[in-house]
């Protein structure tokens, strides 16, 4: 087990540098005129253009220029310096401010998905074709069908402005309560998926041989469900939720915008809009690490859930 984890960690290093190279190349290829993008619709003064061009080596173009800038970036990255964004802020500071709030938001969303999604999924799986099963089916289809870009403003307007149950926006240092509504909105999609997955998986496992054996041994139904069925049913759900954590962090662009949360999604959006290569690569690097780690955790969890899976 220990050797397996070590091997995986070494693979991560390679994956990390591979992704930064690719993302950097994509940003480099898509770069038009970052200085004008920063200035918006105003003319850029020659003085400022010269200053920024020199500071960020924006005059290094072509393949040679790309590798020059990329190695320059990696060199400072290895020294723990993520560089500066075009407005002169340390990217490290930007990430430091953005990550905690996005992590909180993603975890609330994940918690919502686990608590409501998995438990409702189990109930729906046990009582197939009941009223509960059918109504959750309709509800999840509805949620899966409404895009976040519609759901988030609607939730904000009705729950935040009209009935004033939640604060309409969360801000940068939100209370748990202020993050609840965006968390629910963000998690609703994962909730729906987790619910369907759990339901299918539970329904399938209830028909398995070992359940029949357990029943004929005279075990009570509750024990059969919680111990035997649930453990085997959770494997696909855990896989999904592990990957979903990364998705929730990077995919919160719309939710973060609507509820004014200056997190990772928003910064990613801003970086892309202002063609800020180092900022985008910095954020994506951290996202890559999140994905890799959550994948590893999922794989290790398999062994916990299913004794037949062993890692060498």
């Amino acid at each position: 087990m220990f050797r397996y984890i070590l091997r995986r960690l070494l693979q991560m290093v390679l994956a990390f540098f591979g992704t930064t190279l690719i993302v950097y190349a994509l940003m480099f290829a898509g770069q038009g005129d970052p200085i004008q993008a920063l200035a918006g619709e105003r003319p850029v003064t020659a003085a400022q253009r010269a200053y920024l061009t020199e500071k960020y080596h924006l005059d290094a173009t072509g393949v040679g220029g790309f590798f020059y800038r990329y190695f320059d970036y990696v060199k400072s990255l290895l020294q723990g310096d993520l560089g500066q964004s075009l407005t002169g802020r340390q990217i490290g500071d930007i990430l430091q401010a953005a990550w905690p709030v996005t992590l909180k938001l993603a975890l609330i969303a994940l918690a919502v998905a686990i608590i409501f999604g998995v438990s409702a999924g189990v109930v729906a799986g046990i009582r197939r074709a009941s009223i509960f099963d059918n109504s959750t089916l309709v509800l999840t289809l509805l949620v899966l069908g409404i895009p976040t870009i519609v759901l988030a403003p609607l939730a904000q307007f009705f729950l935040g402005v009209k009935w004033q149950l939640f604060p309409p926006t969360a801000g940068s240092q939100p209370t748990f309560y202020a993050l609840l509504l965006p968390g629910i909105v963000l998690g609703s999609l994962s909730l729906a998926t987790a619910l369907r997955l759990t339901r299918t998986s539970v329904a399938e496992n209830l028909r398995a041989d070992y359940v029949r054996t357990a029943r004929s041994k005279g075990l009570v139904k509750r024990r059969i469900v919680t111990v035997h069925v649930l453990r085997n049913s959770l494997i696909p759900v855990v896989t999904f939720l592990g990957v979903e954590l990364g998705n929730l962090m990077s995919g919160a662009i719309i939710t973060e915008g609507v509820f004014n949360i200056p997190g990772v999604g928003f910064n990613l959006f801003r970086g892309i809009r202002t063609e800020d290569g180092p900022l985008v690569v910095g954020i994506v690097s951290v996202l890559v690490v999140v994905y890799l780690v959550s994948n590893l955790v999922v794989d290790v969890l398999y062994a916990v859930l299913d004794p037949r899976i062993r890692y060498e």
Binding site: A37, E41, A47, I94, A97, G160, Q164, T169, R231, N260
Partner: protein, 533 residues
């Protein structure tokens, strides 16, 4: 045993969530019932908070609280002295600026003429890369500070006379210099801002020290907020509120929701999605006031399709401006038929003459006679909410000129400009202009002079350049305005661009504040705003 381990795994994310949430209750003083709570104003994340490096509204809004300008503008948009005692010149070339006694920086230091001279020299020195660098180009000695390795660090035109007086010698006489001094770039910076002469501290813009009615409370919380409090030693007009929180929003729609819920006090711009519902949502808390923005359609005059002024005039006549301001902008903008904003001294109505009148039959005749292109393209930036009016305009051109017309979105304005500069055919393209200080020259010079900083359409008319120059060098305001007006008449003849709309401030506020006023630069007046009792 296995069961318990599983339970632990499931519980882990929950525990982490709750733990994180518990330590993260920093709380923002968004709504506190007490009379001492801050008045909150929406802004975007400023790019910079250094006077000579701030050119966008968000930064300028914060700086108006922290600094006091030499001059401000009255209801007629004529300058009057604020931090200056007097600004005089006998020949409009050598200006003597006397400062009012009693102004201090927020660190207690007295404001002297040196603080102005140092700040301006810092802004003009090219290697500092300041965004407002070109505002100093009229001062003698400015060219010596340009280039990669400038010859000098100080402009020869700035001379200290005594602690409260200095003279500014311009390269050419410029009648509007006094008016110009109200701009953000001309604020002073204290000694404490510099680590060595001419070297600004990196930390300065995190908590700028100014000499204005408000001082920083803590530092700039990036992407979150900037808190300021009343500066009690300020000698000018005292603000009515103790604390102001500039709250940073990424999206206007989020800020609008907060205003409706009384969670935010002032929203300087109502998002376009809500323009139709805002008057009913907010009632008398929905307000409009004049603003200086000018939206127009520019033509690549070097492109043979659009090189004939008659083609451009015909297109202008085929656009029903009033219809578009009504249907698309819900009356939040005014139709424009002149080249300078109505807020300016010297503005005249309908200077575009016949070309500004909607006349489809005449337009079609003229268009065909002038041999306009079979397909008109209007390019715009897709990130600025321009799609609706461009589509409406294109449809009008189709109907009224009997040609094909199409709107093309570029991702960003920068992409559009890059294409125009490379002379890639983009057809006509939208542009906007907001003035820096209220003079006609600020509209005419940068946009249509042969070397104008925002002249992207290759327009060049020596006669026009001469008139603008003569206006700037005039002896009296009246004479200057007369020259500027003649220059504007040339634009009406040549029609390098088609005026479309003049903007307005459309803003809203919560029920917790009153007397919210906005100026021509889209800035909330921080001295006048009051808490509603």
């Amino acid at each position: 045993m296995r069961v318990r381990r599983l339970a632990a795994w499931t519980a882990l994310p929950l525990a982490v969530t709750l733990g994180l949430a518990a330590c993260g209750s920093g709380g923002d003083g968004g709504s506190g019932g007490s009379g001492n709570s801050a008045v909150s104003i929406q802004i975007g994340e400023p790019k910079h908070l250094v006077p000579t490096n701030t050119t966008e509204t968000a930064g300028a809004q914060v700086l108006t609280g922290l600094f006091s300008p030499l001059v401000d503008y009255d209801a007629q948009n004529k300058p009057y002295e604020v931090a200056a005692q007097s600004i005089t010149s006998s020949d409009n070339k050598v200006w003597t600026i006397k400062l009012k006694d009693g102004f201090t920086f927020h660190n207690g230091q007295k404001v002297t003429s040196e603080d102005y001279i140092n700040a301006w020299n810092y802004g003009a020195y090219a290697p500092n890369g300041q965004d407002s660098n070109y505002f100093f180009e009229k001062i003698a000695g400015y060219p010596d500070l340009q280039g990669k390795e400038p010859k000098a660090k100080e402009m020869s035109g700035l001379k200290k006379v005594d602690d409260l007086t200095f003279t500014v010698t311009l390269a050419e006489p410029y009648i509007d210099f006094r008016t110009m001094l109200g701009y953000t770039a001309f604020y002073p910076m204290p000694e404490a801002a510099f680590s060595a002469p001419g070297v600004l501290k990196d930390s300065y813009e995190q908590a700028p020290i100014g000499q204005g009615p408000f001082k920083m409370k803590g530092t700039w919380q990036h992407d979150s907020k900037i808190d300021v409090e009343r500066y009690d030693a300020y000698p000018g007009e005292k603000p009515k509120v103790q604390n102001i929180e500039f709250r940073i929003y990424q999206q206007l729609t989020a800020a609008y929701a907060d205003v409706l819920a009384d969670n935010l006090d002032v929203l300087p711009t109502i998002p376009s999605e809500s323009l139709s519902t805002a008057p009913t949502d907010l009632g008398d808390r929905y307000q409009t006031s004049p603003m200086s923005s000018f939206q127009f359609l520019a033509f690549p005059t070097f492109d043979k399709d659009y090189s004939s002024p008659d083609v451009r005039k015909a297109i202008s006549m085929a656009i029903d401006r009033d219809e578009i301001t009504k249907s698309v902008f819900k009356g939040s903008q005014q139709s424009a038929r002149s080249f300078v904003s109505p807020v300016l001294p010297g503005y005249r109505e309908n200077t575009a003459g016949k070309a500004g009148e909607f006349n489809p039959t005449e337009a079609k005749k003229l268009y065909q006679a002038a041999g306009g292109p079979k397909k008109i393209v209007i390019s715009y930036n897709g990130d600025g909410g321009h799609k609706d009016w461009v589509d409406a305009t294109v449809n009008q051109l189709k109907a009224n000129l009997g040609v094909d017309a199409v709107g093309v979105a570029e991702p960003k304005f920068a992409d559009l400009l890059t294409k125009v500069e490379k002379k890639t055919p983009v057809g006509a393209f939208r542009m906007g202009w907001v003035m820096d200080y209220p003079t006609m020259e600020d509209y005419l010079g940068p946009l249509y002079s042969t070397n104008g900083s925002s002249n992207y359409y290759g327009y060049s008319n020596p006669e026009f350049d001469r008139l603008v120059k003569e206006g700037s060098a005039a002896k009296t305001q009246d004479e200057a305005i007369a020259k500027y007006q003649q220059a504007e008449d040339i634009l009406a003849k040549d029609m390098p661009v088609i005026p479309l709309r003049f903007g307005e401030n459309v803003f809203g506020h919560s029920s917790k504040v009153k007397n919210v006023q906005m100026d021509l630069f889209q800035r909330v007046n921080l001295v006048k705003i009051e808490a509603a009792s």
